[in-house]
Symmetry: C2
């Protein structure tokens, strides 16, 4: 891991490299030039070289990149060789969609517990995982070494639940609640604001229709 801070823009592009390299690897392709990668990813070759140079390069003059090696190195940079223990707070459709998405597990993100305040669904199971009452959340987090909480609850309540989770040791939030979480600097938040994304699409539709 490099000491200097890498920009969030670069970090944000790494999963995309990882995805494309995984596809090349699945196709049995062993090496790729930055120009070829540029063509399939539709970004400039110079952007690719700059991005990867943040992590020490990986390319060899006249050879390009070794697909398998680069794929695995980017995976390590992204921390995908480590296991994370997740809980999900909010067992509605979105929560269920995430729990059921097997690919997360394949990448080391293991859902350990599901919590919901709705008594009607407490005790039911989603992919074998019991839905538990909110009152059990803190103890569960402490006892199961949970480091990531996924919030798929309405915005009212999300801020307070996040504070509660920080106090019992959660280090990262994957936040789908429609509110910005203000947490201490050592806690990481990645928000997916679905409405914001749809509004951006709306803007682009409007500005290209005129």
């Amino acid at each position: 891991m490099e000491d200097r801070e890498i920009s969030q823009a670069v970090i944000g592009r790494l999963p995309r490299y990882f995805r494309y390299l995984g596809e090349l690897r699945d196709q049995g392709i062993e090496r790729v030039s930055s120009q070829e990668l540029s063509d399939i990813m539709r970004v400039t070759a110079s952007q690719i070289r700059q991005d990867l140079n943040n992590f020490g390069g990986f390319g060899q003059q006249g050879y390009g990149y070794n697909v398998g090696y680069l794929y695995s190195e980017i995976g390590k940079i992204l921390g995908l060789n480590k296991e994370h223990n997740l809980i999900i707070v909010g067992a509605g459709h979105l929560g269920q969609a995430l729990v059921n998405y097997m690919n997360f597990e394949r990448r080391g993100f293991i859902f350990r517990g599901i919590f919901d305040s709705n008594e009607k669904i407490q005790g039911t199971r989603i992919r074998g995982i019991e839905v538990r009452p909110m009152q059990e959340m803190e103890r569960f987090v402490r006892e199961n070494d949970i480091d990531i909480a996924v919030l798929t609850i309405p915005k009212t309540g999300a801020v307070q639940v996040a504070e509660q989770l920080v106090s019992c040791g959660v280090k990262g939030f994957w936040n789908f609640a429609h509110v910005d979480l203000h947490v201490p600097d050592n806690i990481q938040v990645e928000s997916v604001h679905l409405s914001d994304s749809l509004m951006k699409l709306s803007y682009n539709l409007l500005s290209h229709s005129e």
Copy 2:
């Protein structure tokens, strides 16, 4: 609408202004200075002024911003005063979560049809909307003036479905499939790559734990 192109970074921030201004308005607050807005949004006042200046300002020296006016103007810039007809392709948990999210409708995004290749759920209804077979999709899009398609299907198939939808008049995609859609320039795509977002969180957890 301004003639010059506004950067996607600025556009990406507009929904967040809209959200905060909506909350201020709901609290009965009538005006706000860029400094106050800066404090609650945790971005610099100069960033706020710069962003809003792209659209002609809205602020008055010594007064600040009129909350209700700015809220409604940003809503118009985002095209939220227009109605969009949406279909959703893929009636799994994620698709259901999106259809059930009432707020989209409140903003003018109306789900008109749901399509899924799974015969077992065809004919069932989600919030009153019938799940239809894929074979009916093209005709439905043409007959119901659909401008946005939401793709919540696996990546295999997404590219082909997108091409099909472009050919029958869809102008924008809200893409949750784990693949980049390459569509003509006049077609807008807003992708939500959930895995990418989770990987970014993973990176930030790792780089802050060392």
